[in-house]
């Protein structure tokens, strides 16, 4: 076994290992596709149900002010945004990687995709908080107008909670997500750099 031809012979003459049979591959492929569709449909149903539920509360409750309704819309938007960010939907939209390109091109696609993901997550959280804060400020205004002391308390509590989430939870979440994505990008880049050696 002192030359490469022997090694190649060894490789090519190794006994075949039983791989899954062709039917089970086709079955798995179909199942895979069905699962993807079901997942997307479920996500859309959950989204729709949430929107309807909040809109229903907004319509049924006897709100006089426009600000309250605009506030509800803002809160709905922020909740939808959070759901999209947390679900696989965003990943599916962003990840258009074509796996039939060369390895080098594929790795570049993966890096681009992870960069996009990082951007959307970081900016997405900021937009979420902005919409949520604005929504609550508008929503609570009617309570404040009707009953100053109750409204004030509601304002203070809500804004305190949002401030806590913004200054404590948000940086922590971003840091965690960034670390995960940065580690991945670093690994992909280190493989990609092997082509240049």
């Amino acid at each position: 076994m002192s030359n490469f031809n022997d090694i190649q012979n060894l490789w090519q003459n190794q006994p075949d290992v039983k791989t899954p049979d062709v039917d089970s591959i086709i079955k798995a492929a179909n199942k895979n596709r069905k699962q993807m569709i079901t997942k997307n449909v479920m996500a859309l149903i959950t989204l729709g149900a949430t929107v309807l539920f909040i809109a229903y509360i907004g319509l049924v409750a006897d709100f006089q002010f426009v600000t309250t309704k605009v506030g509800i819309v803002c809160i709905i938007i922020s909740i939808i945004g959070a759901m999209v960010l947390n679900s696989q939907m965003l990943m599916l939209i962003l990840n258009k990687a074509d796996n039939s390109v060369s390895n080098q091109d594929y790795l570049n696609q993966l890096i681009a995709y992870r960069n996009k993901q990082r951007f959307f997550q970081t900016k997405g959280i900021a937009v979420y908080f902005l919409a949520l804060t604005l929504g609550f400020i508008l929503y609570l205004y009617e309570f404040y107008a009707r009953n100053h002391s109750f409204g004030l308390k509601a304002y203070v509590l809500t804004l305190l909670w949002i401030a806590f989430a913004w200054f404590y939870i948000r940086p922590k979440t971003i840091k965690k997500q960034e670390k995960k994505i940065n580690d991945l990008i670093e690994q992909i880049e280190s493989i990609s750099s092997q082509f240049e050696k």
Binding site: W11, T19, A29, N99, S100, S102, F195
Partner: protein, 158 residues
């Protein structure tokens, strides 16, 4: 070419390639399955722009490269699977050693050498990995040397 025919022709090759990459039989079988699911779903998009060989090996190797995103998930199940495997089939020690040697190489080297061992022409390997012909030639030469050296020292120990 029908899917079934493609699968019969290429699944052993893809298995060996994946095995060279991950050196774990169960994981390699998973990768074969994933590769051919992708082949099945995209077969209508394949338009003979490249050879079917290149096309399938590109999907398979890209699939291997993507494993870095999942390695952590798999680690948990690796141990029992390997133990089971050893009881089930007694593979040639030299083959085990070969897979071990390959899995110790860098990721791109693992892919390149597996394609060389499958007897793919250099130009096609260059096309699959996305390197120039010249660079691939140099790389292949270096990896072959590395592997042969390892085998020499292995045999001296036997």
């Amino acid at each position: 070419m029908q899917f079934e025919e493609i699968y019969q022709t290429f699944s052993p090759k893809v298995y060996r390639l994946c095995m060279g990459y991950v050196n774990n039989s169960d994981w390699a079988k998973d990768l074969v399955q994933e590769t051919f699911i992708s082949v099945w779903q995209n077969l209508s998009k394949f338009r003979n722009e490249s050879s079917i060989n290149t096309w399938i090996f590109r999907i398979a190797t890209n699939n291997c490269l993507r494993q870095l995103e999942r390695e952590k998930r798999f680690e948990k199940t690796v141990m029992p699977v390997q133990v089971e495997e050893k009881i089930e089939i007694k593979r040639d020690d030299r083959i085990d050693f070969l897979y071990r040697c390959i899995s110790e190489l860098e990721e791109t080297e693992r892919i390149i050498i597996s394609l060389v061992l499958e007897d793919l022409p250099q130009a096609e390997i260059a096309d699959i990995v996305g390197m120039s012909d010249g660079n691939v030639r140099v790389k292949i030469h270096r990896i072959k040397e590395k592997l042969t050296e390892k085998f020499k020292s292995y045999e001296q120990l036997q």
